[in-house]
Amino acid sequence: MSEIWSAEYTAMKGDVPLYMYRKHEGAPDPGAARPVLFLVHGSSFSGPSGFDLMVPGRDDYSLMDAFARRGYDVWTLDHEGYGRSGRTDGNAPISEGVKDLIAGVEVVERETGERSYFFYGQSSGALRAACFAAAAPDRVRRVVLDAFVWTGEGAPTLIERAKRLDQWRASNMRPVDRDFFHSIFNRDLPGTSEEAVPDALADAELALCSEVPTGTYLDMCANLPVVDPLDVTCPVLILRGEHDGIATEEDLIAFFQRLPNQDKQFSIIAGQAHVAPLGLNRARFWHVMDGFFRMPARQDPYEDEDRQKIEERRRAGGRS
């Protein structure tokens, strides 16, 4: 088995530098490009901290390593205001996150020569990824939306979060500390992850920052829905942890049913909570993602016709 190769890059969104990180089994070979998987982080911690987490005494928490070993060219990006990326005086809402991704994919294209990628987004990262897929459909091959929320109606986590809406509106940044990282893993159902995980995550993040932007919290509490399912035209996997309070199943099913591309999947992972990629059952979670990305190509004669129909429906806003 080859060593995992890694590299850092900087994408530029105007004058805001955005940190990018890439992992690959062995050094990339320009003559044998692997499928690119782009991982999009959520509201509370940066890309490498969440997707390439090193938990002391454990070697099986890095989603980036797991997918590099499975043959993917794995990338992530720290959104504006997070991790190793630049800060501004803005609050980094979802719409800014989409601009971050637009900047990020230019770097990926420059380095790989490929224009269209697999995407995975977690929590508000799923909102960013869905909005990006809607804005740049030619750049997204297949997208996994994990811990996603559409309208937010009835979502226990968002009802609780909205109690502090004035605070999110009053400041562009919110403080994070060790207790907060523990709360992410315990708010839905304690015991769905190992205790060492939030500590490792807190160690990684608190070395980089003491606060994160409020924009995605504000969007999720006050501005949903931020994406119309009819605009997400690529194949979609909705992935949900059984105990995740960020959305109700009904909300997600309604979104899923409106997705126009008939290559779509909804998977619920039993025994998982909101941060499923770092839960006890992460291997099950990764297995489902990998299976979705590896779907063999269509062999029937209707693919182009279907693509046209999807595009017509998108343009008509669902009225056709």
Partner: protein
């Protein structure tokens, strides 16, 4: 892949003999379940071996049994009463409920051969109804369940509305004739072009060598007796696969069933470019890929 091994068995449901067929890579060790077991349940109109182990002249890759055997499964199927190489009791309609009894008889054979009491199960069309009813009746026997071309209440189903126009005919006889034109209609009724023409011919040839009629019981059940199973009674992890062009049910009906399944290890997959008989369609490898991913889910770590 070489080394494909096969064997046939006879399950007994009372005095009705039922054909059971098995394929895997390499011979088994008697009494040992050394590979994950997968059982395939056929639908209303053709037998298990014809549908799941079909040889299409000049074409490769139509045997679902061999595909899964090559992925490491020990694959089993049966011909239900009245179908293929199984007996047909005098006057029997072979309703879905009787299909469940057939499956119980087959499980006894599998346990005798492998020692295993549980397996993954796939059912298509009325085979999905048999499999779901079996999972509800024998929850200890089904590890993971995949249901394709499934219908719950049947409300709004174009195929069943059409079929129900002949309900009196199905009720008046336990036998309905099948011929080459009928088999062609299975593949063309939803969306012509989603399967190769040679498939219907090969399937018809395979079935014509065994029978000229099949039982009407599952047709009657699907036209007049739905729902046959409530989702709350299916307690194992369940995958529901819905083909884009399948008229056997509406999206809403199938999603209603899925949303009420109590086990939160569950998956709903919608497949584009597919019609009712997805296992024999042009996109069958996509279909099989989805099933394989579901059946090969790693074990839970939190229980």
């Amino acid at each position: 892949m070489s080394g494909m091994w096969s064997a046939e068995y006879r399950a007994m449901k009372g005095d009705i003999g039922l054909h059971v067929w098995r394929k895997r890579v390499g011979a088994p060790k008697p009494g040992a379940a050394d590979k994950p077991l997968l059982f395939l349940v056929h639908g209303s109109s053709f037998s298990g071996r014809s549908g799941f182990d079909l040889a299409v002249p000049g074409k490769e890759g139509y045997s679902m049994m061999e595909a899964f055997a090559n992925w490491g499964y020990d694959v089993w199927l049966m011909d239900h009463e009245g179908y293929g190489r199984s007996d047909w009791g005098e006057g029997a309609f072979a309703y879905v409920s009787e299909g469940v009894d057939d499956l119980k008889a087959a499980m006894a054979v599998i346990e005798a051969e492998t020692g295993a009491k549980r397996m993954s199960m796939y059912g298509g069309s009325s085979g999905a109804l048999r499999a779901a009813c079996f999972a509800a009746a024998c929850p200890d026997s089904v590890d993971r369940l995949a249901l394709a071309a499934m219908v719950y209440t049947g409300k709004g189903s174009p195929t069943l509305a059409k079929r129900a126009e002949r309900l009196d005919e199905w009720r008046s006889s336990n036998k309905r004739p099948v011929d080459h034109a009928f088999f062609a209609s299975i593949f063309n009724r939803d969306k012509p072009g989603t399967a190769e023409d040679e498939v219907a011919v090969a399937l018809a040839d395979s079935e014509a060598a065994l029978c000229t009629h099949v039982p009407t019981g599952t047709y009657i059940d699907m036209c007049a007796n739905l729902p046959l199973v409530e989702p709350e009674d299916v307690k194992c992890p369940t995958l529901l696969v819905r083909s884009e062009h399948d008229g056997i049910a509406t999206d809403e009906d199938v999603m209603e069933f899925w949303s009420r399944l109590p086990n939160k290890d569950k998956q709903f997959t919608q497949m584009d470019g597919q019609s009712h008989a997805a296992t024999l369609g042009l996109n069958r490898w996509r279909f099989w890929h989805v099933l394989n991913t579901f059946f090969s889910m790693p074990p839970r770590c939190d229980q």
